[in-house]
Symmetry: C2
Subunit: 597 residues, 2 copies
């Protein structure tokens, strides 16, 4: 039976020692957050994850969701009680607006809780996760009237949320959406159409389900400029806030998937369902992007989360499994064989995963803090700078963390030998669950294209230049630090490759966009490797300072120091290969005629 323990110490180190959480005290939400309160939150979130959610992960996978003949869906045993514990603890509204019942804490804290609960039970965590995204979209774009009706119930927990974009013939290309919205005399709309792949579309956890739906108002222009966003509740809401008649939306079937079996993935049929416009007509994609951007960070965290829980279980197995002897001679003479941890290739594998996890966590928190500044700062310039980096990093986080999170889950599974392939051990589930994160909320190829095609050139490259400046500044400022020197050399080389690749796109992809497309995925990975390298440099600096000051737990700090070195030695060299692939351009890729594939 796999287990999970929330990495509270690592989070505390990152927030306090690396990212300087205390510097944000002037922002709303941060000022109320004392060190004691933070510790209590992390502790409680860790307990909820390890003791309530994790024990339901494997059983939820084995049981899955069941759709009944009346269209209702039952979630796995225990999910309802777990949901009540989750919502009852106030976790859904952790960083939501206090005006509507939220706790107003930083988004950054929400991201941490998200990692913990997703590691413990990814399929479960999607239910509250989607609600949080829907809350954010409604909060930004809905009328005050709609907010008053929906937000308090969603924040408290009795109502949940979904996002409805995909249709059978369109996933990425939302311009092809066919779902229709017919205006009614009372200002509402009748929504008709079919949406597919709707996570948490129907279930038994909440009294009501609030669907955010993209549809086309009668007579709207073709393409993405004719799409509007609607709120469509499963049950209509009476004037007094009580639930009224069942709306014309129902679950037609649920999908049989590779993983996340505990989450119901629904085909949703809209048969003249009553909905209300959110934001401006024909600007629905713009409104939905609030939810999608938040969801993309959430999915990035899922990548990390599966890598983390897979690592923890692989280490536990490697420690206990006795097999073979160390190459350098017997290490456990009193045992029939040595532990797997004596084998260099096992160590290399585990360190590869862990060196990713701790830097990916830092990168998530670094970006989450940008999100908090972008949304909460009163200083327009600071806000803009944070928003630039948030926009730039979102596709990198989503694409890179989910690609690597999956790879890492596979590597962790490999540590179990044949046992890793048997469902009983739970490693297969981490791999199968992690797999979806590379696909949904914009497949990773789309993230890569968003990065090179939209985010890099935005505002004359202001975001990327700011990032280059920050990393260069760090390298320069710490060049004389003996502890950091070897790390900074590797980071500088990787950064140089990223800068060369960026320059190459500027010179070669403006006129020939295929050159950007053909190099986009390699660029996204190159960017991710360098960003995580920077995160290790930041951590290493904090480590050296604490060791010099005689603070902190020495063995934990020395492990960090070693992981930073491992990352620079083993993972940073990849940047050269990525650069070579990018600068070779699109010619060969585009030369083959379609019929030759």
């Amino acid at each position: 039976m796999p287990s999970y323990r929330a990495p509270v110490e690592d989070v505390t180190f990152l927030l306090n020692d690396v990212l300087g959480m205390d510097r944000y005290g002037n922002l709303p939400g941060f000022s109320d957050l004392s060190a004691d309160m933070l510790a209590a939150i992390l502790d409680e979130a860790g307990k909820l994850s390890g003791e309530v959610l994790a024990p339901l992960n494997k059983s939820g996978d084995a049981e899955g969701c069941t759709r009944h003949a009346d269209g209702s869906v039952t979630t796995p045993k225990g999910f309802k009680q777990a949901y009540d514990a989750y919502s009852g603890g106030g976790w859904i509204g952790l960083s939501a607006d206090p005006e509507y019942g939220g706790q107003g804490l930083p988004y950054t804290i929400g991201a941490i809780v998200n990692e913990f609960s997703s590691s413990a039970n990814m399929a479960f965590s999607m239910y509250p996760g989607l609600t949080m995204g829907a809350i954010a979209a409604l909060h930004t774009h809905a009328s005050e009237e709609i907010k008053r009706v929906y937000l308090p119930k969603m924040i408290e927990g009795p109502w949940s949320g979904t996002m409805n974009l995909t249709e059978p013939h369109c996933g990425t290309d939302l311009g092809l959406i066919k779902t229709k919205a017919a205006p009614q005399p009372d200002g509402s709309y009748k929504i008709s159409g079919t949406k597919i792949f709707i996570s948490a579309g129907e279930h038994d956890l909440t009294e009501n389900i609030v669907h955010l739906v993209l549809a086309r108002i009668d007579g709207a222009p073709d393409g993405v400029k004719g799409i509007s966003l609607f709120v469509v509740p499963k049950f209509l809401v009476n004037a007094d806030g009580s639930l009224g008649a069942r709306n014309g939306v129902s679950c037609g079937s649920i999908e049989h998937k590779m993983g996340i079996h505990g989450n119901s993935t629904c085909v949703m049929n809209y048969d003249g369902a009553t909905g209300w416009l959110i934001g401006e007509a024909n600007r629905g994609l713009n409104a939905m992007f609030v939810m999608m951007n938040e969801a993309r960070l959430g999915v990035a965290i899922q990548g990390l989360s599966q890598s983390e829980v897979a690592y923890q279980n692989a280490v536990a197995y490697a420690r206990e499994r006795l097999q073979g002897r160390a190459l350098t001679g017997v290490k456990q003479p009193d045992k029939p064989a040595d532990s797997l941890l004596v084998h260099p290739d096992v160590r290399r594998t585990l360190l590869t995963i862990r060196a990713f996890n701790e830097a990916a966590r830092a990168f998530v928190l670094w970006t989450a803090l940008k999100s908090d500044v972008a949304h909460r700062s009163g200083d327009a310039k600071e806000k803009q700078a944070a928003d630039d980096l948030l926009g730039l990093m979102t596709p990198v986080l989503k694409g890179f963390l989910t690609d690597r999170g999956f790879d890492n889950a596979v590597m962790a599974q490999q540590m179990f030998g044949g046992h890793g392939y048997i469902e009983e051990w739970g490693m297969s589930q981490f791999v199968r669950d992690a797999r979806i994160a590379m696909i949904y909320e914009g497949a990773n190829g789309i993230q890569a294209l968003d990065l090179v095609g939209r985010k890099l050139p935005r505002d004359g490259g202001r975001g990327i230049m700011a990032f280059f400046g920050e990393v260069e500044g760090f390298i320069k400022a710490n060049g004389e630090n003996e502890g950091l020197k070897p790390l900074l050399g590797a980071l500088g080389k990787g950064l140089g490759h990223l800068q060369q690749a960026t320059m190459w796109f500027m010179q070669n992809a403006m006129m020939k966009p295929d050159n950007a497309g053909a190099g986009s995925t390699d660029y996204m990975h190159l960017f991710g490797v360098v960003a995580l390298g920077y995160m290790w440099a930041l951590q290493a600096k904090a480590v050296e300072e604490k060791l010099a000051a005689g603070e902190g737990e020495k063995s934990q700090l020395e492990t960090k120091r070693l992981l930073a070195r491992f990352y620079m030695e083993r993972m940073m060299p990849e940047t050269g290969t990525r650069l070579a692939r990018i600068t070779v351009g699109a010619e060969t890729v585009m030369a083959l005629p379609p019929e030759a594939f």
Copy 2:
């Protein structure tokens, strides 16, 4: 519904134009094989795979195997009929000794058929595949008496074979085997113990199942030097060859696995089962290695096979799915969107898979020919040289082809977006089935260790030096060929990295074996990348010659030329990263104390 079409044209090109099959006419089995006969075999194998085996792949996955209360196991619907068609066509004994009813054709032809049937239905193909391995082991090591009893029935098909190595507490480390063999007065042994992960251990396809079992004779030395090999039939065999009493071996349970659901993975309980010694006492591992080496090549082929079938289905989907528009402007103005094939990142992904497939296939056949020479040549020197390369390449093939085959199946699944995650589309199955190939027959970390620890230094590095000499010779001999020059530059650079890595091990791993262990997986991949590069160079030479001579189908040859270029541009650059990781050594990897993981 996924489909499969056997790549007969590519195999024909490789055998005839690249690998010079006609040069082997002096070997037994080859001389009888006319071009017409070869074409007929490939055609029939293709039909069997595409029309009989492939249609049962998805249903076999969904249904799985069922163990009944009496210990019997039912395979998925249709498997029995398919097995009868497979064995009835003489495919099991294709390359087996005619003395016992085999057709005596080259092993190389068997490898091709293996690829086709494994692409079509990997779980099914394991049933005859294990029988073929058991045939090889018995043929090499069993007494004539045992051969006469078992081989004809196994070759014909009514009896199947298995290999029993793993026990609950030992997988890789076979020295820990506990299963006991008690000598009986009649020369037989009573076998007692539990074996796990026994593929095809119990099923309803054959009248009898012939288990090859590793066990320890009472009083034998500890460790691997006390292990013997036994043949243990499910039903004892009467003197007249008819089936007698049920033997004391039974299936205690079957595993619930991530994939290959159509193959029964059994816990086998031996309760004083009657068995007979194969080969010498305490030399069982040696005898089993015949089966394991053949099985390792078979598993390598499984990696290729899933990559191939996943590619075919991804191309079919990409061609038909209309989504988005080309970056360079609308390509299908009469359609609501362009085909996925216009997008550079989709093309890059597909070409990455295909450039692997066609070189991996060449590498399999190149090595299979070495196997044929090693086993059939009358020239001792030629035999030895072939055996050197066969031994060297076996771990590279097994480890590299299965790691990449899995990665490729994942990439192909990604082309389907959300649909790739839904079991209905079949892409998840290719990923889940491919996953096991990285684990069984020696997990890939063990292959890497076998390569650097055993195969590289064997006979003073004679095998690796021969390979270096062959590739260097090719580069030198073709240096003036204008068509090949740019390819040979990239190949030479990759080869140089492989040579540097090899030299680094010689200088740094003799005294410090952890340096070999910490670099072993990177070395295996470095080797694989260079070997496939050499395969592309060989193919490119054949292409240039045929184009110059005005022979062959021009469009097929031009596609090959492009794939060779793609491989050198996009895949060869990886060698630099691998070399950097190897030469950094084991220090950081070994520094972390076990408790810090």
